[in-house]
Amino acid sequence: MDSNQSSVNSEQLSVGSGQWSLVPGQSPADRRVWGLIGLMTVLALLFVPISQLFLGVEYSYTLRVVAVGGALLGLISGALGCFAILRRQSLIGDVLAHAALPGVAVAFLLFGRQLGLLLIGAGIAGWLGVYFIRAVTGTTRLKEDAAMGIVLASWYAAGVALLVYIQSRPDASQAGLKTFIFGQAAAIVEQDLWLIGGVGTAALLILALFWKEFKLITFDAEFAGANGFRLNFLTMLLSTLIVVAIVLGLQLAGVILMVGMLIAPGIAARQWTNKLEQMVILAAVLGAFSGGAGAVISATAVGIPTGPTIIVVAVGLALISMAFAPGRGLVWQQWRAWQDRRRFAGQRALHDLYHYAIDHGSPKTPVPDAFLSGIHGRSAQRALQQLVTQGQVERRNGKWVLTLAGVETAARQAHNQLLWAVYREYGHSLGLPVINEDRRQKIELLLTAEMIRKLENKLEETLV
């Protein structure tokens, strides 16, 4: 059973192998990520001629504006969304998108439909929401998700109340406000692009300027606080940037889908890399790709809404990444597990046969079929075949018996497991170096003869 357990261990290890690496320098994995970033950039640029040739897309003025706007917004929200994901605040996007509504309504009530002022109103309302969440979680025992839910629902209700009041007015000047809330890409005009581009660039510049600080508060806030970084200020600054990204994206994706726009590129990027700078750049590129490509795809047929198409592209990229990202994706996990099972099937079966035989008297005790197929199921057949070809097991009277070589191998393996167990228990006190605990490996190969002797002595001690 021991080897069985260790194979499970190694699977978990490989799943959890997404450790954040702090060592600078270029590994093959790094080059792969930079390659991917380059590839996606080229794809995004090539998308225009390809879509013209094969999809018959005509780049009208509207489509050009919408596609550029989508790409810009995808870039900004993709880059900033990474921090929301890593801080386990993915749903903050959903909350702030809803919370922006009363700000939009008040700004509209006071100043009319001027995009800049509406955005400022939305930003202030979202920022108040962030502040409220911090106040509630800081002073009560309510968890962050509950506080976020309260802000989402209550702010939105205030917005709806104001909107209904606005709509009860006789003049029709509120036309266009609703499209702003539910997101309508076609409503974006060239002037808006300059606004989005300008504000977005400013946000990204701030991100670059405070890069080290943001990295620190994202991964180890306590450490940052202990080292004199102004935690409150930095957290609020980062939240403000996220508010800006959301407020800009609202008119494209709409209140409800904004969260997808914010987190999907980051989730996709996270699957490919363990380094923050790579993740942010890749997320920005993927976001820009989704924004542009989604806008273009939605133009291929009448009646496909732009916002949802962009979201489907972005979430699709995230799901593809989760499936195929090298080393981490689900397909790779499954493949590795399958390979491991295959490679170690014989070893496991031998182990079980040996222990059964010993428990029933001597190592030469015959073992019935039912025992192995009971433990190993369908893989028992393959395992036994492996063992027979290696000459470690033979069939006698419808039962399986270990050969001399088999007994020897099994005993050696069992001894190896014991040494591993001793290493785990006493390795530290014996002054042995720390090695990766993979019990399928022979421990003799990983430690020097001197160290093995120490382990052997300790083993004898404990057995006595």
Binding site: I85, V160, V164, R270
Partner: protein, 495 residues
């Protein structure tokens, strides 16, 4: 639903007159408040378990993805029936509820893969499903009032107008066929328009039509003069029945499975070990949440439903530590919010505050031209009222409120200051450094306090007869000495 209503009406008529019943439901306020309270109690009860499980935002996701369930059920129904399906069909509600559960399952699956965190999984799955729903709607659903707006924004104030009528007496349904003596037969030229001729011209072909044939409900029959006695009708708002049934289901669910829900919420491991299958109760809870969310769509819209799930339990959580009381308070706060929220919609806060006056003053002060009548969404106002109660609980909760926390901290600060000052005096009293360390005028320097604070602390200690000033030097009274010694014994016993 229809039969449930009839049973209920029969029951109610034992206590109230028919006219009273009709008048009651015809008042928009009564209908809105009853429906609002039903939704609030359902949401409050289920929301408590969501909150305690840390799944508050799941209700938000579910209420959005339900749209996909509605759309898919609608498309399937339309394909099966051959014509646009009825939007109030129970199949659509079932589809929506299943979509809600599917959201949870997909989220769990994404999370279980170990690749992304729970919150990211939720955000990913529900935006994908909602985006698909909108694409499906814009691509395949035409000429039907099924769009984001229909689901996102509801109005509880109109619920009173959407009723079923139930007949109590003179319930004659009249069917008029062409053979009936009451049938009005008219002759009509059927080819006149096509040929451009008048009925008098030759070649005009006539056909006889029955102008008033068809089936008349008792009410229609009486209005058309086909029956003699006026039918006695009771009008019953449909939403009341839907939410009433959901409330009943919720109550049954919570009462029957109270023990299991409690256990699987607080200790899923133990529940599993005892054989309770916490996963089943999890999905059961999600199914109930979906059902309530969908049932409340019409009345309050899908985003505002979320408020009824999250805010009342959060307020109740700040008021109590016991689950039964929390459930009760949560339902109560929700229902009270529904009751007082109705007034808020017309700008009236408990009768203390009139929004209209505020608007008029705003216009006057800032020179704005806002409409001076505040008449707003009732459901949103109910949510705002619940939020108001949450803020009250947050400020005033006896144990966890801001005010009581501040008072407690203030007391602790004072107590700590007293102990520090008395400890200092105790340490130096009757020693060689006494004259230097304990002069009342310079005491603050040794403690590194401001003179004002020192004076206040000394005054307090003198008033409590713990310290006295002798010749300008601070000394402990016997009572003060005793207190310091007992403090040292209790807190510094390791010294």
């Amino acid at each position: 639903m229809f039969y449930i209503e009839q049973l209920l009406i029969q029951l109610l008529l034992n206590f109230v007159e028919r006219d009273g019943l009709n008048a009651f439901w015809r008042d928009p306020q009564n209908t809105a408040v009853v429906i609002g309270a039903f939704i609030a109690i359902c949401g409050g009860l289920l929301g408590v378990f969501l909150l305690l499980r840390g799944m508050a935002l799941v209700s938000d996701a579910i209420s959005h993805t339900a749209l996909l369930g509605i759309v898919i059920a609608f498309l399937i129904l339309t394909a099966v029936v051959g014509q646009a399906a009825d939007l109030s069909s129970p199949w659509l509600i079932l589809g929506a509820a299943l979509a809600g559960v599917a959201t949870v399952i997909i989220t769990e699956a994404l999370h279980q893969s170990g690749l992304i965190k729970q919150d990211a999984a939720l955000g990913l799955s529900f935006t994908l499903l909602f985006a698909l729903a909108i694409i499906l709607i814009s691509g395949y659903v035409d000429h039907v009032h099924l769009d984001e707006d229909a689901v996102m924004v509801g109005e509880i104030g109109l619920a009173w107008a959407n009723t079923n009528s139930h007949c109590l007496a003179n319930c004659e349904t009249v069917t008029i066929t062409p053979d009936d003596p009451r049938a009005e037969i008219v002759r009509q030229c059927i080819n006149c328009r096509a040929l451009g001729i008048t009925p008098r011209d030759e070649g005009a072909i006539f056909q006889e039509f029955c102008a008033n044939c068809g089936v008349y409900t008792p009410g229609q029959a009486w209005a058309a003069g086909l029956t003699v006695g006026q039918p006695l009708l009771v009008f019953w708002p449909k939403a009341v029945t839907v939410m009433g049934v959901l409330l009943l289901l919720t109550l049954l669910f919570v009462l029957l499975f109270y023990k299991e829900l409690k256990l699987s919420t607080f200790d899923p491991g133990l529940a599993q070990a005892l054989g309770f299958r916490p996963a089943w109760f999890n999905y059961g809870l999600m199914l109930m949440v979906s059902l309530v969310a969908v049932g409340a769509f019409d009345a309050v819209g899908s985003i505002l439903v979320v408020a009824f799930f999250i805010v009342p339990p959060a307020a109740a959580y700040l008021l109590t530590d016991r689950l039964p009381i929390m459930l009760f308070l949560s339902g109560l706060i929700g229902a009270a919010g529904a009751y007082f929220g109705y007034g808020l919609a017309s700008g009236n806060l408990f009768g203390l505050w009139q929004m209209d006056n505020v608007l008029i003053n705003l216009n006057r002060a800032l020179g704005l031209e806002l409409a001076s009548r505040w008449d707003s969404s009732i459901s949103a106002s109910m949510v705002l009222m619940i939020f108001f109660f949450f803020v009250l609980a947050w400020l005033l909760s006896p144990r966890y409120g801001l005010v009581s926390t501040l008072i407690r901290r203030h007391r602790q600060n004072r107590y700590f200051d007293d102990q520090v000052a008395m400890g200092h005096i105790y340490h130096h009293q009757d020693t060689a450094t006494e004259l230097e360390e304990l002069m009342a005028a310079s005491l603050h320097i040794h403690l590194r306090w401001t003179p004002e604070k020192m004076t206040a602390v000394l005054k307090r200690l003198q008033a409590a007869n713990l310290v006295k000033i002798v010749n300008g030097g601070a000394r402990l009274t016997p009572r003060g000495r005793q207190q310091v010694e007992s403090f040292r014994q209790a807190n510094l016993s390791s010294l």
